[in-house]
């Protein structure tokens, strides 16, 4: 029996959503805010995708592997076979998912810190291979000139997604909402209960008939797929990628930080972390302190985690969250 308190939550969710949909119409020319908010949603999606797997209790420090593979899979398909970005991005997701399947096969028996280390190490494998396979991937030179998102045509409506920042904003908003929905479904469904059982007491769960192996596998695959999607989107948004950029520790660590900051057991927790930290950092901290902005960022993280060990979302949602 689940009391999710859905009615009041839904009300202000819709209110906030309306806000994000409507404000661009008030500020027509704000290229800056479109870009920053687009990337905010992007990182929110990335954090949500990561948390899907973190909910099983396994903290991964190697999601950059999925991201990078998604980025390269998507970019190479687009570069060599001139496929539309709307196809290469899901392809990137699939490449990520394949590596996720490999993880499951190899790391299945690992837990805790050992698992974290294995995932960390696993980023190097695709990274070094891509870095050295110059004839195909351009190696360290990186892949530049990746085609931007192509224009969408619905009858007489033409949306130049590649050029219009506003369009990119809405696209990322939709994408993040989709991932938020998936995240919600993963948390608050029968699957979600199974994951929670898996996280809290794996042996007992399997005793009770929860198919722990399958849950584990499916969640990992989903998380890897979604992260790969993010990688593909990144490639087409930025137009250029290089191994140290897409396989970086930053991409692995940021979802963790954002999720813990926002609240790891809240549906919107990871997204909240991104919504607060990213715009604050890019719009305020950077202009206040061009050299010292990271200090503010670091202090903010420290203070928030000290005062809100369950993430800042726990302040927002006074209801006792899952332990």
């Amino acid at each position: 029996m689940m009391r999710t308190g859905s009615k009041p939550a839904a009300i202000y969710f819709i209110a906030i959503l309306l806000f994000f949909i409507c404000w661009p119409f008030l500020f027509q020319n704000s290229a800056l805010y479109y870009r920053v908010m687009t990337m905010t949603f992007f990182y929110g999606a990335l954090a949500l995708a990561w948390n899907v797997y973190a909910l099983t209790g396994n903290i991964s420090l190697g999601h950059a592997a999925f991201f990078g593979l998604g980025a390269y899979g998507s970019a190479l398909l687009s570069y060599y076979w001139h496929t539309s970005p709307y196809l290469t991005i899901p392809f990137g997701g699939i490449v990520g998912a394949l590596y996720g399947a490999l993880w499951y096969a190899v790391f299945r028996s690992l837990r805790g810190a050992r698992f974290a280390l294995a995932t960390l190490a696993s980023v190097e494998i695709p990274r070094v291979i891509i870095d050295n396979w110059e004839s195909f991937t351009f190696g360290s030179l990186g892949l530049i000139g990746i085609s931007s998102l192509t224009t969408l045509r619905f009858g007489s409506i033409v949306i130049a997604v590649g050029e219009s920042l506003k369009a990119q904003y809405y696209l990322l908003l939709c994408f993040t909402l989709l991932i938020l929905f998936i995240h919600w479904k993963v948390m608050k469904s029968k699957w979600g209960w199974a994951i929670r059982a898996l996280r809290e007491e794996e042996t007992a769960a399997s005793m009770l008939g929860v198919n722990t192996n399958f849950i584990h596998f499916a969640t990992l695959l989903l998380s890897a797929f979604l992260t790969g999607l993010c990688g593909g989107i990144y490639a087409h948004l930025m137009g250029l990628i290089e191994p140290p950029l897409v396989f970086s520790l930053h991409i692995s660590a940021l979802p963790l930080v954002l999720t813990m900051f926002g609240g790891r057991y809240l549906v919107y927790g990871p997204l909240l972390g991104a919504l607060i930290l990213y715009p604050l950092d890019q719009l305020l901290f950077h202009s206040l302190l061009p050299v010292g902005h990271s200090i503010l960022y670091g202090l903010m993280i420290i203070l928030t985690l000290l005062f809100f060990p369950r993430g800042i979302g726990s302040w927002v949602q006074k209801r006792k969250t899952a332990s």
Binding site: S294, L305, L306
Partner: protein, 289 residues
């Protein structure tokens, strides 16, 4: 002959890795605090040594005890800060120290500027007679210190009451509490000893590599890697793990090329994690450290 030289260099490199990792391993083992700012602390010790040698012309070996003492204070400060961190402890300390690392990095950037610094070794290289092998003073110091530190820790943990209490805390915090051990004091002591080890690594880091405000992440990564694959709390495993990694890397670079180094290290790491779930040392009944 070349292979022997390769091994000498690899042992030195491995000892270096082990030294960098020891402080992190002890702190993580005893308190489960995942200190992502570990590298920045090592750099702090290094900068201290750099100032002592550069400005005040201290002999290098003297900077080691000074740095060790100084870092005890810093480590205890860290412990006080992390006391306020709530459950889930491991994850929250990870994120808090992530923020701390950012603060320290940029603090060091402002204090010490972005220039690269290192401590020069003026000692001549030592040529082993009748062979073409060479060894430097720094390499000898590295190997000796890592052996000494590991032995000292081992004796502390295995042959003293305090060590017993620490090991109990490492093995099972709750049970240790039940057995009457003051876990909080163990935590403080763990940080203090960890600080000593960090202080030991700092000046050596400045001499073997170089000091740079953003350079902490490399040291932290080395520490994490070695600690986890040595098996948490297995002190001798750290030295062995460091040597194993050093040898694996050197062999890879020599035979396959520098571009493949990280790939082979990762595969090596992963295989070890899978084959030796207890850590690089075999598990003996009731043994630890």
């Amino acid at each position: 002959m070349i292979i022997l030289q390769l091994f000498i260099n690899a042992f030195s490199l491995g000892s270096f890795y082990a030294l960098v990792a020891l402080g992190f391993a002890l702190i993580f083992g005893v308190t489960h605090a995942f200190n992502l700012a570990h590298g920045e602390f090592v750099l702090l010790g290094g900068y201290l040594a750099y100032i002592l040698v550069g400005q005040m012309h201290f002999p290098f070996l003297l900077t080691l005890p000074i740095s060790m003492l100084a870092m005890i204070f810093v480590a205890v400060l860290l412990q006080k800060l992390l006391r306020y961190v709530n459950e889930p402890y491991e994850l929250n300390t990870l994120v808090v120290t992530f923020g701390l690392a950012l603060v320290l990095q940029n603090g060091m950037l402002m204090l010490f500027s972005a220039d690269y610094r290192f401590i020069r070794s003026t000692a001549p290289i030592i040529e082993l007679p009748k062979t073409q092998l060479v060894v430097t003073q720094t390499q000898i110091i590295l190997i000796l210190t890592s052996l000494l530190a590991t032995t000292a820790l081992y004796i502390l943990l295995r042959r003293t009451f305090l060590g017993k209490a620490l090991r109990a805390t490492i093995q099972d915090r709750e049970a240790a509490k039940l057995a009457g051990i003051n876990v909080r004091r163990m935590s403080l002591i763990g940080f203090a000893i960890g600080g000593t080890l960090i202080g030991l690594a700092g000046p050596l880091y400045a001499r073997t590599a170089y000091l740079y405000p953003s350079g902490g992440i490399e040291a932290t990564l080395i520490a994490i890697i070695i600690t986890i694959f040595a098996g948490v709390g297995r002190i001798r495993g750290i030295l062995l793990g460091g040597w194993a990694l050093g040898i694996a890397e050197s062999l890879t670079v020599y035979s396959l090329g520098t571009g493949w180094r990280e790939l082979v290290s990762s595969l090596f790491l992963i295989s070890l994690l899978l084959l030796r779930p207890e850590g690089i040392l075999p598990r003996r009944m009731g043994a630890n450290g």
